[in-house]
């Protein structure tokens, strides 16, 4: 424990906010990854749909 009950020069930090910000950043980063996977999935779906539609068109 630091020098209790007496004044001392201290390097004050704000670990509370730091930790909150770091966690939020991590959260945003991970969420971003999920979003990317989802987007790629939907893009696949869209490509498949377009392909299917073109095929149907060709087949008349």
């Amino acid at each position: 424990m630091a020098e209790e009950n007496n004044w001392h020069e201290a390097e004050i930090r704000r670990d509370d906010i730091k930790k909150l910000l770091e966690n939020t950043k991590k959260l945003a980063g991970m969420y971003s990854e999920i979003m990317e996977v989802k987007r790629e999935s939907w893009e696949n779906v869209l490509r498949a749909k377009i392909k299917k539609a073109e095929k149907e068109k060709q087949n008349g």
């Binding site: 001392h8 201290a10 910000l21 950043k25 991590k26 969420y31 971003s32 999920i34 779906v45």
Partner: protein, 646 residues
């Protein structure tokens, strides 16, 4: 002077504080919380949406990530909740920015005593014949003994004509030079408030008997329980003595533990209504009792320096770091740095001078000038181009005219008294210099004269300032040919100046309020998007395209958010330099406010520095374990996050 007067009524008051619930940090915490909530709700949607489009295989691949994400979202929410629940009282002692205590004036007004070139006070001594001279025993300016002054054998050589100045001759304490180092109690250019005075304010605030929490009835008395009925505190304990017409010192409710009957009232916390709300927080208390003997702890932080420049540098960083304290919030208008910078470098003023007597030379850039009566002081920075013109001085004189018949008549005519253009007008831009009693205005009609340096005030380094006196002030009693005459003019008026742009905060260059706006709205948008999707999952091409576009927006926003957090983290990665920051941690102890007061007054290890401000956090013991389960007092959590525990 005005700045001192304004502070005389000020008083430091206890206020409640909850991290993550106040100021800019609260906005940040809310944004983080919104993201965590959104993440959680979209995770369930992910399964539903993916199922529709038969992408189960891909979803399974990211399953561990989803689990980790949900756990992280929970952690963020829990952390925010912990921070919001940890409540403190804080007492902010600030002589400078908000100004809630009065800095002590370290000077008296007295007649100006002459000083020699080195700045030493000049004393006159009576010789055997009763004549006075500034010399004794062949030594100039030696300080006399008090006995010599009391017996009228020595006296201060006062400026002639007499001039009342701050830090002038003090007959009750004649031998001590007011301009001695401010470390030794000498005068200072800046209002001083010492570390000891801050600690005194800390302890004094526990003694204010009237500073108790007060709660006022919510709504009409007729809607509240009748006088004499049982009421309950926040923990559900019953109290008698209720009267809706009286203010009480604790938060009260209409239901408590005793109200739960298992059928109508299953949970008194959910069913109860608040009877009153807080009007004043009062000093630290447990359930309204300020004389409690229960557990309490404190963290006192004092920013202090013997040098005002250093002090404001650290104080500014400190205020940026604690922008969740409302007094430091950047939204309260002029920021702290601007306010303090104004004390050090006040805005320039333009003064119109008239009757500048060129016989004693005209003013030039670099001259220090001072008002004789109102003690204004400043350095000429610029002479406004085109403003130097002869002073119009029109006189009236009687002219005798003799007519053709020899009759003499007298008529009055105007004439130019300044024909040889001895007197001129000019406009000068002046950088004001703080006097010992603050910044004094340039008043029309006051005579301004050239000043010269005689001695200094302050302590060391940047805190030392020249002491200015009228040039030649020590020669006014000499024969005319030996006198030195200063440049002289009269103040015509001070011109209104357009204020320069304010200085933006330089620490980290970023503030929470700058990065958070828009977050709330975005998360709201995201949430609505999620809700809409729940009802309309489809595999139509247009829906899929909308989905992709929206996800792209979310991705772009998250990228932007990460970038901003990085910027902001840079700010919080920096710890306050230990130099100039003093902390005292009083861990949870059983003697209530009295125990904290006692420890505050007896703690040692802090030097008594001239410029200081401080903040005292007090936490009282609660029911639940916090700070990682090691304590029931939120102060221990605060000590942990502030880095005061090793």
């Amino acid at each position: 002077m005005a700045e001192f007067t304004a502070l005389l009524t000020a008083k430091a008051e206890w206020k409640p504080h909850q991290i993550a619930k106040a100021g800019d940090i609260a906005t940040l915490a809310n944004a983080a919380s919104a993201l965590a909530d959104t993440v959680k709700s979209t995770l369930s949607l992910a399964s539903a949406g993916m199922e529709v489009v038969k992408l189960l295989a891909m979803l399974q691949n990211i399953n561990p990530l989803l689990i980790a994400l949900e756990a992280l979202a929970d952690e963020v929410l829990k952390q925010i909740q912990d921070l919001k629940e940890a409540g403190y009282w804080y007492l902010y002692v600030d002589p400078y920015y908000e100004g809630n205590v009065s800095p002590t004036q370290k000077y008296n007004y007295g007649f100006e005593q002459l000083r020699n070139q080195a700045g030493d006070l000049i004393w006159s001594y009576k010789d055997g014949s009763g004549n006075w001279s500034d010399k004794t025993d062949g030594v100039w300016n030696s300080t006399p003994t008090l006995a010599k002054i009391n017996s009228d054998d020595a006296k201060p050589h006062l400026a002639s004509p007499r001039k009342l100045i701050p830090g002038g001759y003090d007959s009750s304490n004649p031998l001590v030079d007011p301009l001695r180092s401010s470390d030794d109690g000498g005068v200072s250019k800046f209002p001083t408030f010492t570390t000891k005075e801050v600690i005194k304010e800390f302890t004094k605030a526990f003694d204010d008997e009237g500073d108790v929490p007060r709660y006022k009835l919510v709504g009409e008395p007729s809607a509240a329980p009748k006088a004499g009925e049982l009421v309950y505190d926040v923990d559900g304990n019953a109290y008698t003595g209720w009267d809706p017409k009286i203010d009480f010192g604790l938060e009260l409710f209409d239901m408590g533990k005793a109200s739960e009957d298992g059928s109508t009232v299953k949970n008194y916390v959910a069913a109860r209504k608040a009877l009153n709300n807080k009007v004043t927080p009062g000093k630290p208390n447990i359930l309204g009792n300020t004389e409690y003997a229960g557990g309490s702890g404190a963290i006192a932080i004092i920013i202090a320096s013997g040098n005002f420049n250093e002090f404001i540098d650290v104080f500014n960083k400190f205020s940026q770091m604690f922008s969740d304290i409302p007094e430091f919030s950047s939204s309260t208008g002029k920021n702290l740095l601007d306010a303090l910078t104004e004390i050090i470098t006040p805005n320039d003023v333009t003064v119109k001078l008239t009757q500048v007597d060129t016989k004693y030379q005209s003013f030039i850039v670099g001259d220090v000038i001072g008002g004789q009566k109102y003690l204004s002081l400043g350095k000429i920075k610029e002479i406004v181009e085109g403003s130097v013109v002869p002073t119009p001085m029109v006189g009236r004189k009687a002219v005798a005219k003799t007519d053709d018949v020899g009759m003499i008549t007298t008529v009055m005519t105007d004439f130019n008294m300044n024909e040889i253009e001895r007197w001129i007008d000019m406009e000068v831009v002046i950088s004001p210099i703080r006097n010992l009693d603050g910044l004094n205005p340039w008043i029309s009609g006051d005579m301004v004269v050239e000043m010269e340096e005689r001695g200094t005030s302050g302590s060391t380094g940047d805190d030392v300032f020249p002491n200015y006196v009228m040039k030649g002030g020590d020669t006014t009693e000499l024969p005319k040919e030996l006198r030195i005459y200063p440049k002289v003019a009269i103040v015509a008026m001070e011109k209104l100046m357009v204020l320069p742009e304010s200085t933006p905060p330089d620490f980290g260059g970023i503030q929470i309020k700058d990065i958070v706006p828009g977050w709330g709205e975005f998360f709201q948008l995201l949430e609505n998007f999620v809700l809409q999707l729940k009802g309309m999952i489809s595999d139509s091409a247009s829906f899929v395209q909308d989905m992709i576009d929206m996800i792209k927006q979310v991705e772009a926003f998250l990228e932007y958010m990460i970038k901003l957090i990085d910027e902001f983290l840079k700010f919080f990665q920096i710890t306050l330099p230990s130099q100039g920051v003093y902390a005292l941690y009083i861990p949870n102890q059983p003697d209530g406010n009295e125990g904290i007061k006692q420890q505050l007054s007896t703690a040692t290890g802090i030097p008594d520095l001239g410029y200081a401000a401080g903040i005292l956090f007090v936490g009282t013991e609660g029911d639940k374990l916090i700070a990682g389960g090691g304590s029931k007092n939120p102060i221990d959590l605060l000590a942990l996050v502030l880095g005061l525990l090793s």
